[in-house]
């Protein structure tokens, strides 16, 4: 995890890039909050206008299914 001092596990984190259809300024903010609230999710960046969504997360703590679930619960279509 810590590249500087070399301590921690050799980065167990994954970065995902989704393209999401159906964002509005409002629901994009909501999605961001909902994703960040998942235990293993560390960073989220959403471009509401083109649907580009980046998620950094630890698969050991949060399943991909749970992340996808955040989109589908709001009727949004997410493609990797």
């Amino acid at each position: 995890m810590c590249k500087e001092c070399g301590c921690g596990e050799t980065n167990g984190n994954t970065r995902l890039q989704f393209f999401v259809k159906g964002y509005t300024e409002e629901n994009a903010k909501e999605v961001e909050k909902a994703l960040l609230g998942l235990p293993g999710v560390l960073f989220v960046h959403i471009h509401a206008h083109d649907g580009e969504t980046v998620v950094d997360y630890a698969p050991a703590k949060t399943k991909l299914m749970d992340i996808i679930g955040v989109f589908s619960a709001r009727g949004l279509e997410a493609a990797l």
């Binding site: 301590c7 596990e9 609230g37 560390l42």
Partner: protein
């Protein structure tokens, strides 16, 4: 049917030792907090205020972690609370083996509360369990309201966050609303306290939280 020799450790080394520590503290009924935060956030000051309030009510001890010097342990000692200093001599976080070595030589039978003050660092300590019951993070408002999102792991892992130095809030650019919102976004339901070690604000609430945790641990 064939037998395959394996002889492989189930857990990573640090996790295994942290689990041993947890079992040891549980057997002795000691509630353990891993106190983390940036250098200068106010961890040792929080400890000093805690000891003022609680040392007559609870049997406390402290394990101090720093790269060098015993400055923090000296401050704790002045309050008459047993303290042991661990110097990592360059290591940026305390780990389970370090805490185990020290804890095995403490009188845990007569202890209610053990606070481990970790090395000042918002990054690495969150990755290394030392056998604690809960982690606590101190963030001073002078560090900036953007820090929670920048250091998500430590806020997700901690049971409680203390936003320190609120007495100088008028002189800082710290947006309390947005900082608290970010923290609860990262960790829904997390307990967040506004505190000041200078004025004493919020210290009672922190101490009440500790007392409750100690009581819960004792009742198994």
């Amino acid at each position: 049917m064939a037998e395959i020799q394996v002889m492989k450790n189930i857990l990573g080394e640090n996790d295994r030792i942290a689990a041993e520590n947890q079992a040891m503290f549980a057997a002795k009924g000691v509630y353990v907090v891993n106190l983390m935060g940036s250098p200068g956030a106010g961890k040792t000051s929080v400890l000093e205020k805690t000891m003022e309030k609680l040392k007559d009510e609870l049997k406390m001890a402290v394990i101090e972690g720093d790269l060098f010097t015993s400055k923090d342990a000296d401050r704790i000692e002045r309050h008459g609370v047993p303290v042991i200093q661990i110097n990592t001599a360059g290591g940026c976080h305390l780990d389970a083996p370090m805490v185990q070595k020290v804890a095995q030589q403490m009188d845990l039978d007569n202890l209610d509360l053990l606070i481990v003050e970790n090395v000042g660092n918002l990054v690495c300590p969150a990755e290394f369990a030392v056998g604690e019951d809960d982690k606590a993070v101190v963030l001073s408002i002078t560090e900036g309201d953007d820090k929670p999102l920048k250091y998500p792991l430590i806020f997700k892992e901690s049971a409680i966050a203390m936003l320190n130095k609120v007495d100088i809030l008028p002189y800082c650019n710290f947006n309390m609303e947005s900082a608290k919102e970010d923290i609860t976004t990262l960790h829904p339901g997390m307990k967040v306290l506004e505190i000041s070690c200078t004025t004493g604000q919020g210290i009672d609430e922190w101490c009440d939280w500790l007392k409750k945790k100690v009581a819960e641990k004792k009742n198994g």
